[in-house]
């Protein structure tokens, strides 16, 4: 009797539980549907990722790459990782620095570019000196001004001596860390940093008419009208907002010539003017930056730099290869003036007859290129 009663009670509980579960699933589905109504899939507006040999990396390899990317122990004094310059919370760039600072505070001459959508870059680094992520991976690790390791072997020895890497490498590659597996894992992780799914994508590719407001739509029209899309290209299927080419805007040329005067903010509302020459006693000379020329030695390409994607551009200030422009408004102003005149200035650059309202619209449009799932990148990057 007691047993039957317990069984009946159990069945009744299961039925009730089942009903509750079904309601919960329905609720979650409804919420998910609602959520998907409001935000686009992360890859909307992006082309397909091409994996080497058409073989997508395994989840274990990607997770290992994430761990390596975030790990400060990959520098000799445990201070620098890839993520210290490509900071997940700062759009995988570095908002607080014009140009990067490496191990022991050493000077890096260029701005740390975002790693978002790096899978689609035909050229890597501002001068495009590498074309494969696997080749690129070791450069900052070995660069004396970045992560400062003495050799590939020194890094491999360190990784292989860390107990928490034994199992992940075994699982991902069936062996201890090698030059190839480290490069493969980090590149695999970087290929997963996909960041489409902006409001622009919902509007343009998802045909959601309400996704962009009127000002942003006007901004897109201005973007086309003033020729921005000639370099920051898109098409009807996808948009990377880059032509994957190199251009001379004059910034590199000018930096090599002037005794520049800097406005130095000392505190909120307080600043002074300082000439570059006045800082000589406390300045380590930084090698000249000759752009694409450094990779090709082609004189015609001196002071040319890669066109960066505009996706998530609102998250990755400051701008240009040297981080010299602090805001999107400053960038728009720079191009409105046709860049800086110099012998190699790109023929596409010319002074624009653009109104203040059109500049405002352009800035609004650029801010609509931010992916809607940015918190998810950070969560994934920091997940332990």
């Amino acid at each position: 009797m007691q047993y039957r009663a317990r069984q009946a009670h159990s069945r009744s509980f299961q039925r009730a539980h089942g009903r509750a579960l079904a309601s919960l699933i329905a609720l979650v589905s409804a919420l998910a549907l609602h959520a998907s109504d409001r935000s686009a899939p992360a890859t909307l507006g992006l082309p397909e990722v091409t994996w080497p040999n058409s073989q997508r990396a395994s989840p274990a390899q990607i997770e290992l790459g994430r761990k390596l990317f975030m790990d400060r122990r990959l520098s000799p004094n445990n201070t620098m990782s890839c993520a210290m310059c490509h900071i997940p919370e700062q759009g995988f760039a570095a908002n607080e620095l014009a140009t990067a600072v490496g191990i022991n505070g050493r000077s890096v001459k260029r701005n740390a570019p975002t790693m978002l959508n790096v899978a689609f870059n035909q050229f890597l680094f501002w001068d495009g000196r590498e074309t494969s992520l696997e080749n690129q991976v070791w450069q900052p690790i070995l660069n004396p001004n970045e992560m400062g390791n003495a050799s590939v072997q020194a890094v491999l020895d360190r990784i292989n001596a860390l107990p928490d890497y034994a199992s992940p490498f075994e699982q991902a590659y069936g062996a201890r860390a090698t030059r190839e597996s480290v490069a493969h894992a980090v590149a695999a992780y970087e290929r997963t940093l996909l960041a489409g799914g902006s409001r622009f994508d919902r509007w343009f590719y998802g045909k959601d008419e309400k996704a962009l407001n009127e000002l942003e739509q006007q901004g897109f029209a201005a973007f086309k009208r003033f020729g921005c899309a000639q370099c920051h290209a898109y098409d009807e299927k996808s948009a990377l907002f880059t032509d994957q080419r190199f251009h001379n805007t004059g910034i590199g040329w000018a930096a090599a010539r002037n005794d520049k005067t800097y406005t130095v903010p000392l505190a909120p509302g307080v600043s002074i003017e300082v000439k570059e020459s006045e800082l000589a006693s406390v300045s380590e000379p930084i090698p000249a930056d000759e752009g694409r020329f450094e990779a090709t030695r082609n004189e015609a390409e001196r002071y040319q730099y890669k066109t960066p994607s505009l996706r998530n551009v609102a998250l990755t200030a400051p701008y240009m290869h040297d981080g010299s422009l602090p805001t999107l408004e400053a960038v728009i102003e720079f191009y409105a003036n046709g860049g800086i005149d110099n012998p190699g200035r790109d023929a596409l650059l010319k002074r624009l007859a653009i109104t203040a309202e059109e500049k405002r619209a352009l800035a609004a449009f650029l801010r609509a290129l931010t992916s809607e799932d940015q918190r998810e990148w950070v969560r994934r990057a920091r997940a332990e």
Binding site: T79, E96, P268
Partner: protein
Amino acid sequence: MGTLKRSSKPFALRAPAIVAAAIAAAFTLAPLTVSADETCNSPYISKLIKGQEDYVYVWALGMEGLGDGQDKLVTIDVNPNSMSYGNITATHSVGTRGEAHHMGFSDDRRFLWAGGLDDSTIYIFDVRANPAKPKLIKTISNMPEKTGFVGPHTFYALPGRMMVQALSNSKDHGGATGFVIYNNKGDFVAKHDMPTDNGGDGYGYDIGINPAKNVMLTSSFTGWNNYMMDLGKLVKDPEAMKKFGNTMVLWDLKAMQPKKVFNVPGAPLEIRWSLKPGDNWAITAAALTSKLTLVKRDAQGEWQAHEVGTIGDPSKIPLPVDISITANGKGLWVNTFMDGKTRYFDLSDPMNAKQTYEKVTGKQVNMVSQSWDGKRVYITSSLLANWDKKGEDNEQFLRVFDWDGKELVMKMQVDFIKNHLGRAHHMKFGSKALRKAMVEQDESLAEGAQSGAARVARSE
């Protein structure tokens, strides 16, 4: 040059849920005898050198290509009556170059803690066993992993504890940071974030405690990105220049809770409480704006911040980097890095600090420490490895001056380049007499324990 603006409106901070039980217990159990180190350190340090100091410990940054290139603790005999006056009695290299910066004694003055701002390693030296030759007894290398903070800067003794103010964090090398509390053995006890709400900007730098008023003041500098960066590059980077602290925070000491945030623009650095009985104020200098700020209780008992003086010509960024207050609270030494000047301010009226003396004491000067009696002034040269001047301007030294109230007269110097020591930064004093007193105290305690044990044995 713009006008400095300050909001004196207090921010009533929400009491954050900070676990401070261990710290509160330490304050409760320890005697709150308020005394001071040689004018500038934790009031919980039990033994002072009020006469002639025998040694100065200099925490020196290794210089690439100079000697062994490692950070090292350098001990120098500074007693004019000693046969080895002016000699280096010991150097202890720590095996790496990690941006040696500041030091602090434990409350019993037996141990000297020292930190590296780059690699975040903390070293604990025994200075009791042989004050002429400190011995490294412990290294703490897991602060970033344990706390998320990097750049251990100020070492400030609490009863049985050491408080370590960090400058940055391991996530982005920016300025959001906090402080860590260890016990005197070097075991982690607790961590506290610097406030980022109600006006707090999250930056940290120095600590100054007034136990009688149950208040702690903290100041704010900048993160690893900036303090490790080449100074010229930094000044030219407007984004980086915006990332300096502009606040001081007043804390409820026992609760370890922030109570009020003061707007003090331009990176307020060292904090010095007046040691004169009855005074209830502390002073600081802001590095970028070259202003002296006093934090003082008003007639209603409310703590307020007041700008009380200007150091040199702020438009030239003289960069005031260290201050040292006289034991009677009447005067303040200020070192300005860029012009190499040591300046004296009369604080007879602390609300109106007046510069009365200045002298170029080096091509670049950083730390300034005075003896308790104010008759000797010690100066070192290095600010940060990548902020120091280049080429011939990169003098590295310890210089000892006599001060008669009118003129600084150099009596002794040690050239840290010629001696292959590196960049001379923070200084602390050592004494044979203090060591003797500590030994006698230990023997007395041991005898007491022995006779107590004998009494117990007899009664059994």
